[in-house]
Symmetry: C2
DNA sequence: GTTACTGCAAACTTTTTGCACGACA
DNA sequence: TGTCGTGCAAAAAGTTTGCAGTAAC
């Protein structure tokens, strides 16, 4: 259940190198946040990372942890599990369906598709708990955002 | 793209009846929030619902909208699209994987499965935008929460 | 030596809560 | 009529930002 030491090392290396590659500084604080996020498979929130890192770097501040995960997220090195930042959004469509989410603007569109509906929980997940619903999330960049980006680069 | 009038009516009926069925009161405010959430397929946030409902019920308060969607959510009538309430959570697992999410306690566990990895975006989604990743989310109740609930009922 | 990063504090956004009044069943 | 729901206001929770000092390269 825990991430193996080798895998942790691999992740720390990979994250560190990616930072350097983007000519960002690998500070003491960033390194320890990276260690912590690499070591955990419990999808920690910022507060949990902060508590853990503070044992080794007692002077680190909560906002540095926020800034570090935001930086790692921008580089695509870590991922927010809950999709959209900002306010919670609601869906009253009672039929089974899936979602396309734009990672740029947060647009969410329903996706109806029989093949996606056919996806079932693997047997192995029964040990985690009882699965009550299966939803496929497609992440990408929506057409309007694409257009906007090519305009910006023009 | 808009929800058809018949479908809206069906949803409003269904939501209203479910409320009554739980011996909750169908107030003017609740009915209008229900109308609004049923009418939209844009996954509105609470603020957007508030703005829309206020055109018809100018005296409604933001917290009533919050309480109404929370009530509808508890009854399973509407769904938060972003999974977990509370703080954003991060994942440093770089390999393709999926998630099991407990709707009771918010536990998130990685799920590795080749069959889920094989799920592809349907062709039709190309019109929405470019799909960069496909993730399956399994929602349910984790084993510890199950145990806790049977204990509570004992 | 520069420039980017940090810590602090304050602000901002999103959501929740306590209380007294008003409205539904 | 009794109870549940509402509006108001304040607070809590989560996150972001400006600034001056500090540390990485």
């Amino acid at each position: 259940m825990a991430v193996s030491p080798e895998e942790v090392e691999r992740r720390v290396d990979s994250l560190s190198h990616a930072l350097r590659g983007s000519s960002l500084r690998l500070t003491h604080q960033r390194l320890e946040v990276i260690r912590e996020v690499a070591r955990s498979d419990e999808h920690p929130d910022v507060e949990a990372l902060y508590r853990a890192v503070r044992e080794r770097v007692p002077t680190i501040s909560l906002d540095t942890v926020y800034r570090t995960v935001a930086t790692l997220g921008d580089l695509g090195l870590v991922r927010r599990v809950a999709l959209t930042p900002g306010p919670a959004r609601y869906d009253a469509n009672p039929s089974r369906h899936h979602h396309f989410v734009c990672t740029r603007c947060g647009l969410i569109r329903d996706v109806d598709d029989p093949e996606l509906d056919a996806v079932r929980a693997p047997r192995g997940t029964a040990s985690l708990g009882s699965v009550e619903s299966v939803e496929v999330q497609l992440r990408g960049v929506c057409t309007p955002c694409h257009r906007k980006e090519s305009d910006d680069h023009a």
